[in-house]
Assembly symmetry: C2
């Protein structure tokens, strides 16, 4: 059996997230159906990250097994020809049989995009959170640096979601302004559900001066979800890259 | 009566062009209805450029008259609050009573965007023409420079469209590659319908080596629409800016 990995980009606007579920269109089901039609057999896809409804991906990674000898370029072209334009295979590779898109991942980068301008943009509205009031990207960056390293991220988890461990290791963070757009990037070895969106929701309070950097740190250390800010909406979030 | 001008951006994907027409959703009607509701009286909009179905705008300019004393910021916010997110007022100004968005315009810039990469992008699919084969932006730029100045643009007009004069003056042109994206920009004092899209359709033949620069020039000089390339699709085209 060959083990094939794909790098996949998608606009999550019209999908109920990555993972298959009954009575809802998901990216996984859309891709699985296209791959299955090209290979002429059913496939199970293993995904590097399970993006929630409305979240986008530039670098989702999946792998699947097939006995077919089809070339990688023909496979990619074939799958793309069956996919709607909001889902694209960007690359395909043959990987070792032990490769698993999720368990082999060393870290992932998520980027949250904010349009910080009086008026929203028709072109960015699907891909960035519109924040009309002034944000101080500098203080957001300072606050975000407090999450670097291995910590308990309970303060930023999804309410009523339970884990064996809520400790995750954050390797790199960045808040950068480019003109009217602010990018919040977090690279970690793993993420809790809603973690980035809850961090961003709390950082927005810092950016508008409603919360000082120290208070952000105290909320983070308290491990109490109720103290942190609201969950930022999904449409600003991108699964940017997965490292193996 | 106050004469108010607005700078308007829109994603043309879901509209049957700018201009009002029966039984079709147009940007003009969408904006006119929002302005009318805020001012509480019907308005006639004068627009700087009439974009065709599916064409986008970053810098459409309109003007209208009102006796109301409403402030420009309140007016803009109010209109935007009633508009769908794919149409946004970016700026508002009070102008002299002689100002007419179309007749006062000195020149306009249109930009055509091409994604030149093996695979399309879910994020650019609505805003760029996907061209999977290699394009030589350099020869496209050389060919495009041939249209600089005042010329008869009949070779690039819409079939069966008639004008008193088909002479237009092109002031600036540019073909620039930025990574996988190629921009074709044309600034002119006026445009024939489909002119930019027909120029781009012919430039694509140059870019892929099917037509040499000299032949492009000969087609242009022949003034025969049949000799030029096909009309490039609307979704790559943006009305970028109007100069007054």
């Amino acid at each position: 059996m060959r083990n094939i990995s794909l790098v996949v980009a998608y606009d999550g606007t019209n999908y109920h997230g990555w993972q298959c579920q009954p009575n809802a269109i998901t990216v996984e089901e859309t891709l699985r159906s296209a791959v299955g039609r090209i290979l002429d057999h059913a496939v199970k896809l293993y995904a590097g990250g399970r993006t929630d409804a409305g979240v986008h991906a530039m670098g989702q990674v999946v792998n699947f097994f097939t006995p077919k000898s089809i070339g990688l370029e023909g496979l990619t072209r074939g799958i793309n020809s069956l996919l709607p334009v909001d889902v694209r295979v960007r690359d395909a590779a043959e990987v070792g049989e032990g490769f698993h898109a999720r368990y082999s991942a060393k870290s992932k980068i998520y980027v949250y995009t904010i349009l910080n301008h009086t008026y929203n943009s028709p072109f960015l509205a699907r891909y960035a959170l519109h924040v009309p009031y002034d944000l101080d990207a500098g203080s957001m960056d300072t606050a975000l640096r407090l999450i670097l390293g291995a910590h308990d991220f309970s303060a930023f988890k999804k309410k009523d979601e339970h884990y064996r461990s809520t400790v995750r290791e954050v390797r790199k963070v960045l808040v950068r302004r480019r003109g009217r757009v602010i990018y919040v990037a977090v690279e970690a070895t793993g993420f809790l559900r809603y973690m980035v969106r809850n961090i961003v929701g709390t950082l927005l309070l810092v950016g508008q001066g409603k919360l000082c950097v120290d208070s952000f740190g105290e909320i983070f250390e308290s491990c109490e979800r109720e103290k942190a800010g609201p969950t930022a909406p999904p449409h600003g979030l991108f699964l940017r890259k997965i490292f193996y």
